[in-house]
């Protein structure tokens, strides 16, 4: 991990000193040892602020569309982040030449809520990452060693793209791949197998918790519309009242707007304060898009996405055919 951090800092300083980029997007230490914060580095002397650890969970691609005028930007990109960047380039939200993708082969990000057990969630807890993927959690109650593999975020255990699909430079060596413990569609498949009534009840219970903070929308790199359908007064698709039907409409539409575009980075679910399992919807749609159109988001920077095109041999759904 250390040499990767050195590579990051060195690369950032080199790019800034050589004026190859105007800005480096990466991660810096957070206010506690188990959080990091997105870092905007504009001067080479600030490069030492950059860190790399299994808490570097944010998808930095989310910042790119608004940074279009800044100049060339170097972005630290995990596998999922790189796919988000590819999608943004494909959708002409940022020119390819304006982004310098610094790919980081990733061994996975920690689910902090899962990691910290009762007694460890208070002030003073620290988490350090040792070599060989062992974490040490030190709290008022003592010390505990935890293998990283046991506390990975769900999206990491299913990840098929640890190594960035697209990168200008790859920092560090490709790590040992994570043993995927389930397929990406797994949890969604279970829900899909239940009755319609069960599914209605399932989603009703989840959507009822939604507080319409839009954390999911704001953290998502694929949600960059200048005026979101939620904020349009005319036509009024959803009310600002968080009635169940309006909240249902919000989530249904947003998920569908991401069909074929979401890379399952899982940030929406991580930031949701009400623990709504949002990625179930996205995984279902990603699975359907793959099955129906043979397409996976984020693996190409050109071409047309499947809903923007058609084939004469697309299956005909009309029953009377």
């Amino acid at each position: 991990m250390n040499e990767l951090v050195e590579a990051m800092r060195g690369t950032a300083a080199r790019l800034l000193n050589g004026k190859e980029v105007a800005l480096v997007l990466g991660y810096e230490a957070g206010s506690v040892s188990f959080r990091t914060a997105p870092a905007f580095i504009q001067h080479a002397e600030d490069a030492p602020r950059l860190v790399w650890n299994p808490f570097c969970t944010n998808n930095l691609a989310a910042y790119l569309p608004e940074l279009k005028g800044v100049g060339r930007i170097a972005v630290m990109a995990k596998g999922c982040d790189a796919r988000s960047i590819a999608t943004l380039i494909q959708e002409h939200q940022i020119p390819r030449e304006q982004v310098m993708i610094l790919g980081i082969p990733c061994v996975g990000m920690i689910d902090v809520e899962q990691l910290l057990v009762a007694g460890e969630r208070g002030p003073g807890t620290t988490v350090t990452c040792g070599p060989d993927g062992m974490l040490t959690v030190a709290s008022a109650g003592g010390q505990r060693a935890v293998p990283l593999s046991e506390v990975l975020q769900g999206r990491c255990t299913n990840c098929e793209h640890h190594v960035p699909s697209i990168a200008d430079e790859v920092l560090g060596n490709a790590p040992a791949p994570i043993q995927a413990s389930g397929d990406a569609f797994g949890a969604a498949a279970e829900l899909a197998g239940r009755s319609a009534e069960d599914r209605r009840a399932f989603w009703r219970e989840r959507f009822e918790r939604c507080i319409r903070c839009y954390g999911c929308r704001e953290v998502c790199p694929a949600c960059y519309c200048r005026t979101c359908f939620l904020d349009k007064p005319a036509p009024r698709w959803t009310s600002k009242a968080n009635t169940l039907e309006d909240t249902w409409m919000f989530h249904a539409v947003r998920a569908f707007h991401l069909a074929g575009r979401c890379v399952s980075c899982g940030e929406c679910e991580r930031v949701c304060p009400m623990d709504i399992p949002l990625t179930l919807m996205n995984r279902m749609l990603a699975h359907e898009v793959q099955e129906k159109f043979g397409y996976t988001a984020g693996l190409q920077i050109d071409g047309i996405q499947p809903l923007g095109t058609f084939e004469s041999y697309d299956p005909d759904p009309a029953e009377h055919a």
Binding site: S31, V219, A241
Partner: protein, 348 residues
């Protein structure tokens, strides 16, 4: 005979007590839902009350200031419009209120009760709701109530304060409403040992909370042109997590929803972090950037409310700290303000 101010309640008595009260009023308690989220919901016989651990992700603010708060419905059109006010507030009891959330009510009281106008809805809810508090045994990693004048065993805004001693609760009686509430259950006198146990638990919790920043004269240090705003706000995503989870953020919007022959007017939560917060019809936005809106948030809490009411708009509950997607830590920002020179307050 002197009035007793403390008593003991068996832990197994709590849910039956709550259910008995629910026969005549709305009774809310922190209840675990699926996927782990804990919210204040009406009690039911099969409810799992969550009293241990950190404060629930949502506080009881929603009861006093619902996220969607209907004001009136209207039918008809033109000169024949008829308004039907919506004003149906019932007596209520909220169990498991953490001291930071209880204290937050003081701030909401300042805004809704102590200005020129009194908010009738808020006043009705406030006057009819009894708050049964719960002392925090385990502060969260984001908590900083002691930094802003609070305590994990604080009593501000509460009618009773429970301290969990395992198989029983120590109950501190704070108001006559709280005392009256206890008549619906069976209590026993507290012993010196139990008083000591409760006090020790409080002290242990307090000791765990370090002072996060110097809150002395904080209002002076929240300066308009500090370079901190630009730097920190750069990573802000403009979501509503901080303000919506805050137990006392209270900005709201008023919206109408209409159909062909009628409609409804309601209040709904707003947040200064949304781009549309002060965006006007013609497009002008006095707080167009994240820097302006982050500054607004901090200034409102630690400067404007202090100057107007003498009390900061923050009780150190730590929710915004723990839940911000990009780790904007209000404690770090406030610690840095005053140390970084700006034009208003040049470095000493």
């Amino acid at each position: 005979m002197a009035e007793i101010n403390a008593t003991m309640l068996g832990a197994s008595e709590l849910l039956p007590w709550a259910l008995r009260l629910a026969a005549s009023r709305r009774v809310l308690a922190p209840i675990a839902g699926t996927d782990g989220a804990v919210r204040y919901l009406p009690v039911s016989p099969d409810a799992t009350l969550v009293f241990s651990g950190g404060r629930p992700v949502r506080g009881p603010k929603e009861h006093f200031m619902p996220q969607t708060d209907p004001l009136f419905t209207f039918t008809g059109s033109g000169p024949a419009v008829a308004l039907q006010p919506v004003f149906n507030h019932e007596p209520a009891v909220i169990f498991g209120v953490r001291p930071c959330d209880g204290r937050a009510l003081r701030s909401l009281d300042n805004v809704f009760l102590r200005r020129r106008e009194t908010d009738a809805h808020y006043a009705a809810r406030r006057g009819q709701t009894i708050m049964v508090g719960l002392a925090c045994a385990e502060p969260g990693w984001g908590c900083f109530c002691t930094t802003v004048g609070g305590s994990p065993a604080g009593t501000d805004g509460l009618d009773l304060l429970l301290t969990d001693l395992g198989d029983r609760y120590h109950v501190r009686i704070l108001t006559s409403a709280g005392r009256e509430l206890l008549e619906d259950t069976v209590c026993s006198p507290s012993s010196d040992t139990e008083e000591r146990l409760a006090a020790e638990q409080h002290a242990r919790a307090i000791v765990r909370l370090q002072l996060a920043f110097d809150s002395n004269r904080i209002a002076e240090r929240v300066t308009w042109d500090s370079p901190i705003w630009e730097r920190v706000a750069r990573r802000c995503l403009e979501c509503g997590v901080c303000n919506f989870l805050c137990p006392l953020c209270h900005c709201f919007d008023i919206q109408d929803e209409t159909t062909a022959d009628g409609g409804i007017r309601f209040r709904c939560w707003d947040t200064c972090q949304f781009d549309e917060f002060t965006k006007m019809g013609a497009g002008h936005n006095p707080r167009a950037g994240r820097k302006e809106r982050l500054r607004q948030r901090m200034s409102h809490k630690f400067k404007y409310l202090v100057e107007e009411f003498g009390q900061a708009g923050c009780t150190g509950c730590g929710r915004c700290v723990e839940m911000c997607p990009v780790n904007i830590d209000i404690r770090a920002v406030l610690a840095e303000l005053g140390t970084v020179p700006s034009a208003e307050h040049p470095a000493k």
